[in-house]
């Protein structure tokens, strides 16, 4: 405690006291502010993980949109989400479909889903007893994305020609450019 004399001394005491009060308040406000900043950062961190998940799913949905656009091409399509397997087999031999200049993707394949562990590539000899139609494949390194489709073929059942549809995948391979 500072010794004072008279009125000048009392004013000095009050001034020192108020400065101390202001200092205390400043430190307290700073501490509260830092605390809320840390809490806010923690909250943003937990929310940003959810955003990353949604971004990944959006990217995948966009890529599937590309596959869906090709599924609707008049060359393949037999309706919404429908691929005519017979037409796809014919396209394999026709330019410009086989050299990949018409569609700006690396490869187009159509796989019929089954319990089989191994794919059987479709040729003129084994069609329709096969499950993978390779429309074309440039053979370059790529990322692929698929959309589910109905793969329909004409098959002979007893005495009837039946238009039979199975569940399949329309697989599009495209090149991913690495960011520099």
């Amino acid at each position: 405690m500072v010794k004072t004399r008279g009125r000048g001394g009392a004013r000095f005491m009050v001034s020192r006291k108020s400065q101390l009060k202001i200092q205390q308040m400043a430190f307290m406000l700073m501490a509260v502010f830092i605390f809320f900043v840390l809490a806010g950062m923690f909250y943003i961190l937990s929310q940003s993980q959810n955003i990353a998940k949604k971004a990944n799913l959006l990217e995948r949905n966009n890529a599937i949109g590309l596959a869906n656009m090709l599924v609707d091409s008049a060359e393949f399509s037999c309706g919404t989400y429908c691929i005519d397997g017979d037409r796809a087999m014919v396209l394999r031999k026709k330019s410009p479909y086989t050299n990949g200049t018409l569609w700006k993707v690396n490869s187009i394949k159509i796989r019929t889903l089954s319990n089989a562990t191994k794919d059987t590539l479709c040729t003129e000899a084994n069609y329709p007893d096969c499950n993978l139609i390779k429309v074309y494949d440039k053979g370059a390194g790529e990322t692929s994305v698929y959309s589910y489709v109905s793969v329909c073929k004409r098959v002979k059942e007893n005495e009837y020609i039946e238009y039979r549809c199975e569940l399949g995948q329309f697989i599009v391979g495209y090149e991913v450019k690495n960011a520099k």
Partner: protein
Amino acid sequence: MQNKKGQEEIIGFVLIVLLVSVIAVVFLAINIRKPSEKLPSAEIESFLQSSMRYSTSCLISSERRYSLKDVIVSCAGNNEKCLNNMTACDTLNYTADKLLREGFKPCPDCPTNAYRLKIYGTNNRTIINLREGNCSGTITTSLLSLPTYSDKVKIELEVCREI
């Protein structure tokens, strides 16, 4: 006296910090327990749409084979009997299960670890409810509406996968 006052203020501040921390922890606990959001997926939608054309094993006559869509409509309505003596609902159960397994190949260590298919009519009448696996990931979903003669059938598919 000044020391005691300063100590009182510090205690007050610590109490406020503790109170706010407790509220934050409770809020976090509620947030974590909230069921994970179901995200719409173009892939699941394409699966549902494509499956509708699938040619089932149900021959309703020697010339007519039912698609999965026809079987769902029949099961929701009069549950017709196929030439192989299976009913439409039996065919639906078998075919839906087969397509889901072939389409998604769920397993605990695979990217897709669970799915749930629910087909229901008006008033939430359940036509079929198929479920496989335990979900440990993000749920992606799609909903398809099928108008029938007397009912509106809804097909809801949820697939759980690691994203």
